[in-house]
């Protein structure tokens, strides 16, 4: 990276446009309202349009109805899935970027995507598991195992952990596993068939049973992430300064790694490889949040799910047939990223 670390005041265009906590909370409230609005839209829009009133009725009215079944069994889980996976991917992306101090890092940096897809190929092609809601757990296990392997290979030799070793080992394992996955999937057409559907990234047809595990992983991951925000801020100043501030660098990095793994593995196996969301949402958040990791994290956790929800809703209405959320997500996110890149100063970390 050119100028891998820029003076923090240069990160935003307008210097410290809003430093006070009050201004942050006001803007966070705006983004939260946006997210809530999108969630309502996501409940209302579909093959059967529903008014806000009938959604409310369906949610709280004890009487059984078609609307109630539709909202509770199909649309509500789908909206929750989008919110949880979006938040998880966004925060995982932010953590990856702050830990490696590389603005191009994304949640898949620990080889999670490649591990999950290899596991899917093995489960479908060689163990004969065809049902999405079954092999999803293989994907999760594959992602966790890969991250553990990446950590073992890139683990500290002596002293503090060097993130660049981890990145390299993540790239390496990601490459090997994706090569193996592709090779095996080309031998087993049925695995290829499932893999191509998973890779795109979609929220359609997911079993509502995965909402709870995803919720648990996301909450734990975000709690760990939030607790290390201050240490990450200190680490951004350099290892020596962080040590001087009394930060346990190694503990911080291990915690952050655990959080990234948990968040990325859960979200990726649930909705597919939408790593791009995790790459760009923190960049957008940094635009409004300034330099503090904690605030950036709060914004990211609201902006990323908003983008995913919007993508899901748009995917339902743009074409007669549904567009996968992953595709729409890239189509929304990319212009945003290009605009950020073309901004007055290139975003740096």
């Amino acid at each position: 990276m050119p100028a891998s670390r820029v003076n923090t005041s240069e990160i935003t265009d307008r210097p410290q446009r809003a430093g006070s906590a009050g201004a942050h909370i006001a803007r966070l409230a705006f983004f939260a309202a946006l997210l809530a609005g999108l969630a309502v839209l996501s409940l209302a829009i579909g093959s059967r349009q529903m008014s806000v009133h009938s959604i409310m009725l369906a949610l709280w009215d004890p009487q059984e109805s078609i609307e109630k079944a539709l909202v509770l069994e199909s649309r509500l889980p789908r909206a929750l899935l989008a919110i949880l996976a979006g938040a998880a991917l966004g925060v995982a992306g932010l953590l990856s970027q702050s830990m490696t101090r590389n603005p191009l890092a994304e949640p898949g940096i620990l080889g999670v995507n490649a591990g999950a897809s290899l596991a899917i190929v093995i489960a479908v092609g060689f163990l004969g598991i065809q049902e999405y809601n079954h092999y999803i757990f293989f994907a999760f296990a594959g992602a966790l195992l890969t991250a553990a392997l990446v950590y073992l290979i890139g683990r500290p030799q002596r002293g503090a952990m060097d993130p660049s070793r981890l990145v390299l080992s993540g790239v390496a394992m990601g490459a090997i596993f994706s090569g193996l996955g592709t090779a095996l999937s080309l031998v087993r057409p049925e695995a290829f068939d499932q893999l191509r559907a998973w890779t795109v990234g979609d929220l359609q047809g997911r079993n509502s049973g995965i909402v709870v595990p995803l919720l648990v992983c996301t909450v734990i991951g975000i709690l760990i992430a939030a607790s290390s925000a201050r240490s990450l801020d200190a680490l951004a100043l350099g290892e020596d300064s962080a040590r001087g501030l009394g930060i346990d660098i190694r503990r911080t990095r291990v915690l952050v790694l655990v959080a990234i793994t948990l968040l990325a593995a859960a979200a990726t196996s649930a909705v597919g490889a939408i790593g791009f969301l995790g790459l760009m949402a923190p960049h957008a958040a940094r635009r409004v949040a300034g330099a503090s990791t904690g605030w950036i994290m709060a914004y990211t956790a609201l902006i990323a799910p908003s983008i995913l929800l919007l993508a899901d809703v748009l995917g339902r209405v743009l074409l007669p047939s549904e567009l996968p959320a992953g595709v729409v997500c890239a189509a929304i996110g990319a212009p945003l990223l290009v605009a950020i890149a073309r901004g007055r100063k290139p975003v740096a970390l």
């Binding site: 390299l168 592709t182 090779a183 890239a330």
Partner: protein
């Protein structure tokens, strides 16, 4: 004075060692080529291959060697070298060890073009090649134009490249998803990068392009070396940096897109070869020739493995180069080289 005197023999020794290693890699390429030509459904002994290559042999064996297997072997050598060179140019321009033409969306764009040709127009070899060429070049142009703002900034180029290629990547995934399974799988084989079905009619024109551009690049070694030191320094040494950068980008893009159009986006050769050359030779300068040799070695070795590992199933060579690249990175890590990249 004395420092100069001690430095000189050391530099000479290093140069000699580099030359020796380069010759060794070239020899390895030759051995792999002979092995690649000798094996297959109809076995020809390596010794017989050498004889035929040097003019002996007639009839079936000569046809097999020259018309069937030689184009593929030659393609592996030439195209590997081409990918490696364009990787070197991009890594020098962005001053990022992870730089490669992929970062400006070339591979993804080429895949998009090929996918459109395959899935919508049901294209054969020629249509796929044309589609890939158009897709790759168009993408590179769009990325370059979008990243242009009073000059190209390496980081902006990368960021815009990521944005554009992620859109194209998800478009590609969508196309693969919508196509019927057989079409999708043959597209995926192309998308992984494969030398299957390469013949003289493809290798000759692309090979000619590659050779010409490689010659121009050798001629451009100096501006490249200056740019590697940073834009400002290069400019103060009298280089018209924007023009030099544009020229180098055009050359590197032309190299990659010509190769990618024919054999698909082969991963990792462009990324790893310059690093390999630099690490093994231990010099940080412009290792144009060693880099090209390592690229040729990687692709031909990868293709040999791709043909034989699961024979009769022919893997796409890109799958093998990806794994080789990954293994190489892990080796680097375990050797304890800390500043290896990223």
């Amino acid at each position: 004075m004395s420092a100069v005197e001690t430095a000189k023999p050391r530099r000479q020794r290093r140069k000699l060692r580099a030359r020796g290693l380069a010759v060794l890699v070239a020899l390895a390429c030759a051995v792999i080529t002979v092995l690649a030509i000798s094996g297959g459904e109809y076995d020809i002994s390596p010794w017989r291959v050498v004889q035929i290559l040097f003019g002996g042999g007639q009839g079936l064996e000569s046809t097999i060697v020259w018309d069937w297997r030689m184009p593929r072997a030659l393609a592996a050598l030439l195209f590997g070298a081409a990918l490696a060179l364009s990787g070197l140019v991009f890594q020098s321009l962005t001053r990022n060890p992870l730089g490669s033409p992929d970062i400006i969306g070339l591979s993804t764009g080429a895949y998009s073009g090929a996918l459109i040709a395959i899935t919508i127009f049901g294209g054969g070899f020629a249509a796929t090649t044309a589609g890939a060429l158009a897709g790759g070049l168009l993408t590179a142009l769009i990325v370059y134009l979008l990243a242009w703002r009073n000059g190209t900034h390496g980081f902006r180029l990368i960021l815009v490249g990521i944005g554009i290629s992620s859109v194209l990547a998800s478009f590609n995934q969508y196309m693969v998803l919508r196509a019927d399974l057989d079409t999708a799988m043959s597209a995926a084989v192309w998308g992984a990068g494969t030398l299957n079905g390469v013949s003289w009619s493809g290798v000759l024109p692309v090979g000619a392009v590659v050779l010409v551009i490689a010659a121009v690049l050798l001629y451009c070694a100096r501006p490249l070396q200056l740019l590697q030191m940073g834009d400002d320094l290069a400019a103060s040494l009298g280089l018209n940096t924007e023009r030099a950068k544009l020229l180098l980008i055009v050359l590197a893009v032309a190299l990659t897109s010509a190769v990618t159009a024919l054999i698909g986006p082969v991963a990792f050769v462009a990324l790893v070869s310059p690093q390999l050359a630099r690490r093994i030779l231990g010099s940080s300068g412009m290792n144009l020739v060693p880099t090209a040799l390592f690229g040729a070695f990687l692709l031909s070795f990868g293709d040999l493995l791709a043909q034989r590992l699961f024979a009769p199933v022919q893997l796409p060579v890109g799958v093998v180069t990806v794994c080789l690249g990954g293994i190489y990175l892990i080796y680097l890590l375990n050797r304890g080289t800390r500043k290896a990249g990223a």
